[in-house]
Amino acid sequence: MYPARIWREKKARYRLVGVKCKKCGAIYYPPRPVCEKCRSRELEEVELPRRGKLISYAILHDPPIGYRDQAPLIIGIIELENGIRVFAPLTDVDEKDLKIGMEVEAVLRRINRKEEYGVIPYALKFRPIMI
């Protein structure tokens, strides 16, 4: 992915920044310019909660090129504490400990080995909450 494209998405990817509609309060991730519910174009940036629960996952034994050193790569859909759902990989968890419904939290991690333009792609992954 070209550096400018990584740079444009940095807030959403590094800090889980979404947008909130100033009129009706609906929240979206990733950010978008128009509220789907009331069509308002006045939205403001909002940082989303970094904790949530896993509502579905899949285990990729043969991940795409650039991700193979992570095999098996686990991807999931996480419902954050405010009800917003995000798509993200899981990390620091053994396959056998995975469970739909488990509590997870966001951590910054390297995403892949695709560095053809010199930028190491970082973003948030989710791991089981350590107590």
């Binding site: 992915m1 494209r5 998405e9 959403a12 979206y28 991730y29 990733p30 509502i55 579905s56 996952y57 899949a58 285990i59 990729l60 034994h61 043969d62 991940p63 795409p64 090129i65 650039g66 991700y67 992570q70 790569l73 991807i75 999931g76 859909i77 996480i78 759902r85 995000v86 798509f87 993200a88 990989p89 739909i100 995403i111 892949n112 792609p121 973003a123």
Partner: protein
């Protein structure tokens, strides 16, 4: 006032790994079969459904490229791309050209050539159907997004893999009788649930194969259609809708809102209900999409499709019969061509000359999905 539109010719290549044929050769074969089937009438425009020509053949400008190679002349021609839903979207566009009165004979073709590249390259090309910045960036393949949907569905409705496996069993059984199908062998539930894991919980035999193929249908206005045949197949309803490409943002992970909306449009235009449908071809790139499609089209209650299937519903002899072709699962899935195969197969069922499992039918429906439920078209045809 929209004009009536008819299907007056169909042409298919066998779905296969056609190492001896490229994109253009596959197209020409299907196109000329359709032209001959329509009594040698020449189309005055061409709409091509295709997903990956840009990625895998380094070929854009597909309309002109294929119209020229296929010997169709200097007609208006263009490609419509909506991932695996390209064929259905091309059909929707071709329908509009005839219904509007702009062009009275249109060829809608779908063509896809996936097997020249290594499978990792093909998989990467297909992953472009997902959100590049927020899904594919994280390592999601198209298969793994469907695995997420499948896992969610299984958990929510307490459906076992064995129950879902009946879909693959039925599709392979149907495909074994279809000369155009790619996977013409039977499988057992045991084989399905023990096949290689691709993206847990999804296994190899839950998935459609990597395929090459081309399909073409010729659409014509009433004046033209009545000259070709006394009993042309009538297109009585069409619908199309889209949903969020980022699946985590969807309202619901177990319903395809785009299919519900597209079906509503098509049923309302045809002035019929799901009960009137005799035969359907639904988009089962993965078994889970086949089951969810039957639910979202209104043939069975949400969460009940697998149970109904295991009780014998949707098999040949039931109404509606689902995917007598063998579906994407076993007929094969030449992605951008699939939606056109489906329409051609339904038209042949209604004409009574489908060369595989025959379903005596008055009304048939085809639904085609691009992305994991993102771009969906529905077409209803009547004899």
């Amino acid at each position: 006032m929209m004009k009536k539109v008819y299907v007056v010719g169909v042409g298919l290549t066998k779905v296969s790994r056609h190492y001896d044929k490229g994109l253009k050769e596959l197209f020409a074969e299907a196109a000329w079969k359709a032209i001959e089937d329509a009594g040698n009438i020449m189309p005055k425009a061409l709409v091509v459904g295709n997903e990956t020509s840009s990625s895998l053949q380094d070929q854009d400008n597909l309309g002109a490229y294929l119209a020229d190679y296929g010997g169709l002349g200097r007609i208006p021609a263009f490609k419509v791309e909506a991932a695996c839903g390209s064929g259905g979207a091309a059909f929707y566009t071709g329908y509009a050209l005839v219904a509007s009165g702009l062009v009275d004979v249109v060829m809608v073709a779908g063509v896809e050539k996936l097997t020249d590249a290594r499978s990792s390259v093909t998989t990467a090309a297909l992953a472009k159907a997902a959100d590049a910045e927020y899904e594919a960036f994280y390592g999601a393949s198209f298969t793994s997004l469907n695995a997420l949907l499948m896992h969610y569905y299984m958990k929510k409705y307490r459906v076992s893999h064995e129950e879902i496996a009946e879909w693959s069993v039925m599709m392979h059984e149907n495909a074994s009788k279809n000369p155009y199908a790619q996977l013409r062998f039977r499988v057992t539930k045991e084989q399905v649930v023990t096949s290689r894991i691709i993206a847990y919980p999804l296994r190899l035999l839950d998935a459609s194969p990597i395929s090459d193929g081309a399909a073409a249908v010729i659409l014509a206005s009433e004046d033209v259609a009545k000259k070709i045949s006394d009993t042309p197949i009538s297109i009585v309803g069409v619908g199309m809708a889209t949903d969020k490409i980022y699946i985590a943002g969807r309202e619901s992970l177990d319903r395809m809102e785009a299919l519900i909306l597209a079906a509503k449009q098509a049923f309302s235009m045809a002035k019929i209900s799901p009960r009137d449908i005799d035969v359907v071809e639904v988009h089962d790139a993965f078994s889970i999409l086949g089951l969810m499609s039957l639910e979202d089209l209104g043939f069975v209650e949400k969460g009940r499709a697998a149970k109904a299937l295991n009780d014998g519903a949707f098999h040949p002899g039931d109404k509606p019969t689902a995917n007598p072709s063998g579906g994407l699962k076993a007929r094969g899935h030449p992605v951008g061509a699939t939606g056109v195969y489906q329409v051609a197969e339904i038209a042949m069922q209604l004409r009574g000359d489908f060369p595989g499992v025959k379903v005596p039918s008055e009304v048939g429906l085809a639904s085609n999905i691009g992305g994991a439920g993102t771009t969906i078209t529905v077409a209803i045809l009547r004899r």
